[in-house]
Symmetry: C2
Subunit: 306 residues, 2 copies
């Protein structure tokens, strides 16, 4: 009922980074796509199976170095229910390998409907005499625009099953300020959302001082990252935007506390497409991913005291 499980892994590996598995089909080497198209034709099923094979090979190569993966739900939904099957399989495989799994779904709704999302991604559902785990992640990203009614159902599941959530606070995109930077009584909306995270998480604070309610704060806004780290002392940060979106390691260092804790930095495309950037044999895509996660770990930890 906090992020202690994740922080334990980060400390053990001395690596506060997470690999985003956002597998566009273009990222999957052609030889792998062809393999499944030969079995299933050019279908959503073939695409989904190729993506699972891609993910699995990357997980095999990184699970001893990287504490967590973050599959982005959109890239699975785009292949229909077959894609969702690959999401489920990817989560189960990564957990089997000991990784912490953050499903990036940015889900949001209210009451019983939010309970359904909480059950889907972090909890269980009951069918007749059986209690079943649909997707089984460790944490879920969520959008807090609907207020406490949209968050409370998640907190119940977090407490019962030692899970966590990350609420969108300040996102990494150029237009994030259109609404998030607007001032309410002199305080930006993103800081208000951050304050709510502190409030929502108040009775789930773990051994490292962080609650089960984290926040998404983009690497592309280092000043806000620093400001929010001070403002939200019990809120663990998920930091997207490192690398491909332009956030650097000096900037993301602001996400961390004096013990080098308090955040985890995501990289997706740079890891999945490392083989393209290196220009190596596409068959070595997973080894190239491993080289990139080591480079990333060393880049980030050079700027913090973990």
């Amino acid at each position: 009922m906090s992020f202690d499980r994740l922080i334990d892994k980060i400390k053990a590996m001395k690596n506060p980074s997470v690999v985003g598995l956002d597998p566009k089909l273009d990222y999957v080497p052609e030889f792998l796509r062809r393999e499944f198209e030969q079995e299933d034709g050019c279908s959503l099923r073939a695409a989904s199976r190729a993506i699972f094979a891609f993910n699995k090979a990357i997980i095999d190569e990184i699970h001893d170095i990287v504490p967590a993966i973050k599959p982005q739900a959109a890239y699975y939904e785009m292949y229909g229910y077959n894609g969702m099957k690959t999401l489920e399989k990817t989560i189960r495989y990564a957990r089997l390998k000991g990784m912490f799994v953050i499903t990036d779904g940015k889900r949001n709704d209210i009451g019983a409907t939010m309970q359904a999302y909480a059950a889907a991604h972090l909890g269980t559902v009951t069918v007749g005499e059986n209690e079943l785990e649909p997707f089984g992640a460790d944490a879920l990203t969520v959008n807090g625009y609907l207020g406490s009614d949209g968050i409370q159902p998640l907190l119940d599941v977090c407490k019962a099953r030692d899970k966590g959530i990350f609420v969108l606070v300040k996102t990494s995109n150029p237009s994030s300020g259109e609404l998030q930077d607007q001032l309410i009584d002199g305080v930006p909306l993103y800081a208000r959302m951050g304050d709510l995270c502190e409030q929502w998480g108040a009775d789930t604070i773990g051994n490292y001082g962080y609650s089960a309610v984290g926040a998404v704060v983009g690497a592309t806004y280092p000043a806000q990252l620093k400001e929010l780290r001070e403002r939200l002392p019990h809120t663990f940060f998920l930091v997207p935007g490192y690398g491909a979106q332009g956030g650097g390691a000096e900037g993301v260092a602001a996400a961390f506390d004096k013990n080098g804790l308090g955040g985890i930095v995501n990289s997706s495309r740079a890891v999945m497409c490392a083989y393209q950037k290196e220009g190596c044999d596409p068959k070595d895509f997973a080894k190239a991913a491993r080289r990139e996660v080591i480079r990333m770990r060393d880049d980030i930890t050079a700027h913090i005291s973990l």
Copy 2:
């Protein structure tokens, strides 16, 4: 590239209502659940198949009276990929019967990731030589907290494929005001979000004066509904909260313009569980749903001039 297709159906049926298909397993009559559990055990697959049979029977009974359905993604996701298959099948079946389908997913992300959601729910994806439609709805609900970067990818698909979106503006839940009612330069956040809807939809206005960018505005806040109808003349409203959540027909009348257009009112539980409320034979659940949608139509249209 507007809501003309939906409005045409509303006018033809003289019925501005939509049935929310949010099928909790408790709503599905026991005889139907048992039927599939006997084949597939107490599994996610059995639950998902029972839900499809339930949805199909309701669609068969209402498609000549009600212009649209609104499946809530959460209630399908909670049964894993099997549930997502039922979502896909429900959408395809309703469209085959001539209904307009609004997937209530409240999706949100940025750039390429939002493109993936747009492709998943409203567009197509390419696998090898094939262009495939994963879920194939007519419209999708979305959350605009991330700003224009999260909406633009949807607009491209709306224009190319004559689809629509509904952006969360003022939601029906008790805590919606925690953030949405906060004042920014004297204007509530929900009205700011509404103004963005007008801006995002500006070049997609159809024959009835409404764009492809609609707004979700809850029936439980009739004063805001009236205020927003005046403020957002080109924005079509999806109105949840009628019935079970406490919104009445007089209140929802504020969603409509002088021609009785401009909005569509959702009811979910009251329709799906009409057989429980009536206390009729559970085998007649679909006929009870039909009686309830007629009652709802007459209740709403008594208060507007359609």
